[in-house]
Amino acid sequence: MSDRLAPTRTAEFEARLKKRYAAERRFKMAGLGAILFSVGVLAFLLVTMGFNGIGGFQRAEMDVPIDFTQAGLSGDPALLAQPDAAQTLEAQGLPSIVDFYAEQQLGSEGAAQISASAWRLVADGIIADPTILRETVTFSLPASPKLAAGLNGEGAPEMRALAKTLSDEGKLETKLDLGFLERADATDPQQVGIWGALKGSMLTMIVTLLMAFPIGVMAALYLEEYAPKNRWTDLIEVSINNLAAVPSIIFGLLGLAVFLWIFPNMRSAPLIGGMTLALMTMPVIVISGRNAIKAVPPSIRDGALAVGASPVQVVFHHVLPLALPGILTGTIIGMARALGETAPLLMIGMRAFVATPPQDFTSPATVLPVQIFLWSDEIDRGFVERTSAAIIVLLIFLLLMNGLAIYLRNRFEKKW
């Protein structure tokens, strides 16, 4: 036995130990710094978006009381039930009635700054409830973009002055505009809405999911479970991996060349958009699906095979349920990417001006990111806030979609 101190109890060792702990602390701080930086950037993004976006959910409106008892509109319920009731009311002189009362309330200068299509709002009100034709009703009518800008202290000096006068008299106000969530695109920033693009995005995502998920999962299953390992499957594997890295605009060109060639009269349709996005989502699902399937322990397969399960039973009873959470994670990533995609959809014509929300999968539509792109390109100041509001809607949609997928994933994980 030597009487030397054990090597782990020397002063040098303790010095080294201190250094080791210091290195660990430095590493921890670096990690914490990275997290704080990302959180900061995210917070900055959300705060600016939220701040700008709030304005997008509001608009400048003017209250105009209309005395329908004096207006002389027929108000025949049968006529008002017709689909062309608005035209009927127009023919009966509704626009000039609205102009008349607007002038009474706001003066001729103010009345000129009522949005030209304001009478449609009144018409909608009448159609919704014809009994108002027997009363005096106050409508909040959107101001013209110029006056709205004036209210924000922008634009021409005479507009700013007019806005100041009207708002001092309490006749011009910024009001919550929930209609933004119900309308579609328009040329007037006061009249635009996001519902058209939101619905377009929803329809497109449904098509993308319905196409990319089953095809992607089946492809992943086949490649992992059945395909022989040879040059051909290697080639397919490399191609799929490369496909996931192809710039999205190329998929747009493909959609343009192939899908629009097959369905020539479906330009801008969510069906075509969804199919195009499915092309770029599928490789992501295939790759994540294969990894999830690979991660299923071989012992589980062996166990199932050993009691006499056929290969298909092994796949559907054991492999797929165990791989599903991983597959869903990949699907979330792929779908989130598809939801935010603009370029390929521009190629297939989804940048068209679509003033009515799409009726179905084949009617012309636009999607949220394209709408944001289009609005951000507008010269009119009013579109700036609308753009931010649209971004908020896009982010909320994204969160809801991911939330749903995470909920599904957790459910499947619990079941097993």
């Binding site: 006499g308 056929s310 097993w416």
Partner: protein, 263 residues
């Protein structure tokens, strides 16, 4: 070099027999020309140093080697006289008749009940809940697990202890009423108490099923088996009654192994 078979080995009826079986992984020969009869009423133990091909040979008996693309089997293996590789016998049916328990317990990540009910369900052996309940209870009782789990059949099979998991896997195998049960080092991942329980269980199952057990523990082979085959470098060196192999080995290599010279 052919296998030395102890001469006093009386003719028992063979459940399975292998004739001149060789197994290749690609070009590599893992099993070289093995012939053996697996008796119906006894426990047969395969012993030998690790890497000598015990698992490989065991897996040929229910064609689990089919799942390894590079594996190739030559020779003839019969179950009740029927060639399991070349006849019209279906591999799914074969595995229902020749069950298997693995080295590492591998219960499905499902409830205990579903683990046991799975085999009978996919083979259509049960048609309603009552029948399934019966099979599950019977199999768990036979596997000596019933009293421990009967109040928590809905718990996940993976939540059991290692020894319980292995007995669950045995219950899963016997639920389809196989004729042969193959066990590949079923106790190597278990503690001594759990091992003792499994050995007890093997004793109880002996006679009802033909059992083949791979083990690296010679004591275990001596305790649970009546027949022992010693494998070395892909060859079956010696085969005979367990008592003879351990007290009176005819081959030097067998003697070296059981006296702990290697392995």
């Amino acid at each position: 070099m052919v296998t030395v078979v102890h001469p006093n080995l009386e003719d028992t009826d063979a459940k399975m027999s292998a004739r001149d079986v060789s197994v290749f992984y690609g070009d590599k020969k893992a099993i070289d020309d093995v012939s053996i009869d697996i008796p119906t009423k006894y426990v047969t133990a395969f012993i030998g140093p690790s890497g000598c091909g015990k698992s490989t040979f065991l897996r040929t008996l229910n064609r689990m080697n089919d799942t390894i693309p590079s594996a190739r089997v030559e020779g003839e293996i019969t179950l009740d006289g029927e060639d399991i590789y070349r006849s019209r016998m279906d591999v799914v049916q074969l595995r229902a008749r020749v069950g298997m328990v693995f080295q590492k317990p591998n219960p499905f990540p499902k409830s205990i009940y579903d683990n046991v009910a799975y085999g009978p369900k996919i083979h259509g052996l049960v048609s309603n809940k009552t029948e399934t309940d019966e099979v599950v209870e019977k199999s768990l009782r036979r596997a000596g697990l019933w009293t421990e789990v009967k109040d928590r059949l809905d718990d996940s099979g993976t939540a059991l202890s290692g020894g319980q998991q292995q007995r669950l896997c045995i219950a899963r195998a016997i639920a389809v009423d196989p004729e042969v049960i193959l066990m590949d080092e079923p106790c190597s991942a278990l503690d001594p108490i759990a091992t003792a329980k499994i050995e007890e269980l093997i004793d109880e199952l002996n006679g009802r099923y033909a059992i083949v057990i791979v083990t690296h523990s010679m004591q275990q082979a001596a305790r649970v088996s009546q027949r022992t085959a010693f494998f070395h470098l892909g060859k079956m060196v010696e085969y005979g009654r367990t008592s003879d192999i351990f007290t009176n080995p005819l081959e030097k290599r067998t003697q070296d192994y059981i006296t702990g010279r290697y392995g």
